[in-house]
Symmetry: C2
Subunit: 349 residues, 2 copies
């Protein structure tokens, strides 16, 4: 089969690799229907995190189950499935606590699973899925083509935006500012809207993203950043700031902006992969009672809540995909996202 590997900075290649085979009993082989490029894929692409040896890429996919191991009971051959950006057994104590990203037996796409068998990256034609019963969620039937992008967001960005909102305690009537206008930030706007936030400020300088943010439920847009951005946000909320700030970037600047924007006693929900620090200013947090909650989003547990709304069309997070390319052009997909010509690129094998 063909699969995507990174060889180094800005060196993305689609190569022929061995087809995966069932090996652990609880696994499944899934033929990828759609995959995509994640903002976090840009860290190795840009060389911010070094690539020591070529490795598989991609962690978001939907597809059709082709084979299942003898220990798989819930997932069946022919199912259309959504895979979270990690695998999990969905039965261990951490999974039962809702933190499937800390599954005691789980792992990550493109690495060996706990039994030493390889789990493929998602930017390819086939993926061996460990813990298929725990990891995969099947849709009731094969979905309409138009729903594929929305379903694909449940693998990561929509669940991650939702996690930012949930972690910050967004509820009916909350006031919210969202730092970051990538796919996750936009999904965080949508998540805040469906949770009932009364006012949602999207922080964005890009007209197309501002427009989508408004369509997702943003009531206001702020283009300023840094000190000016903080001042503008404070001013919009009676000088004290909003209840919740959703940090969807992961840089020093974005976290600092989030922490300084929240009102005293407010909460920062953070889901941006921290990109080399900094550490959080504990004294500032102490003085203001601004808390920080979030992390790598346990999206598996959110699929059941969000899936019906995607299937019914009540929410359409798939609109974050503004470019679709065949898998053969995966290198172009990275380039488009790197140059911010696309919010998020959908790949079709």
């Amino acid at each position: 089969m063909r699969a995507t590997l990174i060889h180094g900075e800005r060196d993305i290649r689609l190569e022929h690799v061995p087809d995966p085979v069932l090996s652990t009993g609880g696994d499944a082989i899934v033929r990828v229907v759609a995959a995509c490029v994640c903002g976090s894929d840009l860290w190795p692409y840009r060389g911010v995190t070094p690539t020591r040896e070529p490795h598989r890429m991609g962690h978001e996919f939907v597809g059709v189950v082709e084979q299942v191991g003898p220990l798989v009971h819930r997932i069946r051959v022919g199912d259309f499935v959504i895979a979270p950006f990690y695998d999990c057994d969905n039965t261990c104590l951490n999974c039962r606590n809702g933190v499937t990203t800390s599954c005691l037996h789980g792992g990550w796409w493109g690495t060996d699973d706990e039994l030493g068998a390889f789990a493929d990256g998602a930017q390819g034609e086939l993926v061996r899925v460990p813990h298929a019963d725990g990891s995969l969620v099947a849709t009731p039937s094969y979905p309409d083509e138009a729903l594929i992008p929305g379903l694909l967001t449940l693998a990561d960005v929509m669940g991650t935006g939702h996690h930012a909102a949930v972690s910050a305690g967004v509820r009916q009537g909350s006031t919210v500012a969202v730092v970051g206008d990538g796919a996750v930030g936009l999904c965080a706007v949508l998540a805040s809207h469906r949770l009932g936030a009364s006012r949602i400020v999207a922080m964005s300088r890009h007209e197309d993203r501002q427009r989508l943010a408004r369509e997702f439920g943003a009531t206001d847009v702020v283009a300023e950043r840094g000190d000016a951005g903080v001042a503008r946000i404070k001013e919009m909320f009676d000088g004290v700031g909003p209840d919740c700030v959703l940090e969807c970037v992961g840089t020093k600047e974005s976290m600092d902006q989030a922490l300084r924007s929240a009102r005293p006693g407010g909460m920062v929900g953070f889901v941006g992969v921290p990109n080399g620090g900094p550490e959080l200013p504990v004294r500032q947090m102490f003085d203001t009672n601004v808390g920080v909650n979030g992390g790598v989003a346990p999206v598996r547990g959110y699929v059941e809540e969000l899936l019906p709304e995607v299937l019914s069309g009540a929410i359409d997070p798939g609109r974050v995909f503004d470019l679709e390319l065949p898998l053969a052009r995966v290198a172009e997909a990275y380039q488009a996202m790197d140059e911010r010509r696309a919010i998020k690129v959908l790949l079709r094998p």
Copy 2:
């Protein structure tokens, strides 16, 4: 009147100072019935935070109102009152949000208020209280002598322990570990117990504090610290850790222990005054979904909830006072706490 000043490291003096006078209209003069020494008073006492010039000390007191300004309507002369460890108007937006410690017009004992009039420290005979209607809570009648210590804890330590528990999300059935066996840590045990925690581990190496922790509702005591303490706590909770960890110290070591003890997806409630850092490890928090919430405790807002239980004897947080001294011996009070001969010292003017 007599009041306590610090002149430098381990130099605490009771001196004659001018009696306070009403000055802002909304203020009151309170005769102190009981005050105390706080763990945070030990930072300047030990020279950890330098004393640049002599200043008043003390921020916890209960007393009787002797005079009120013309703009005071709720509080009356003769009331027995509890003062939080700060003053607040209890009407501004931050106060309405429950964060009275961030009152837009509030201040701290022993400093000038927003109008430039001095608010006395609590370790003295009289205190001028700005924003008397907002800051003070009157008891229904003059309390029984035996209740005075418990009422005094509502000025700080009981409300602060409660804030740690509330900030960490302690609720019916929660599992909790408390880092710190000072008065705040012990009150955090008591607060967790009354909020319905199913298991509460007190981390303590001192037999008298262990005993009081058990009487306050601790189900377990762990004497180990650092790596051994973390390992022991993890082991007690199925290898993953408790839902909530209450950080009631404020050092690098205690925060590190708290963050590493909580289960994935758990929450650290922190109220220990951060003593010079360190900053919080954002990547570790991201990977584990352990959040950090808390800060300087808005105890004013907790008085109404806790007061009836203190008055009825349902809770007796006053037991954290294991030494009582006349105000004239205030220097001894600091010494006893510094040498850990006393958990907390009550002072009688």
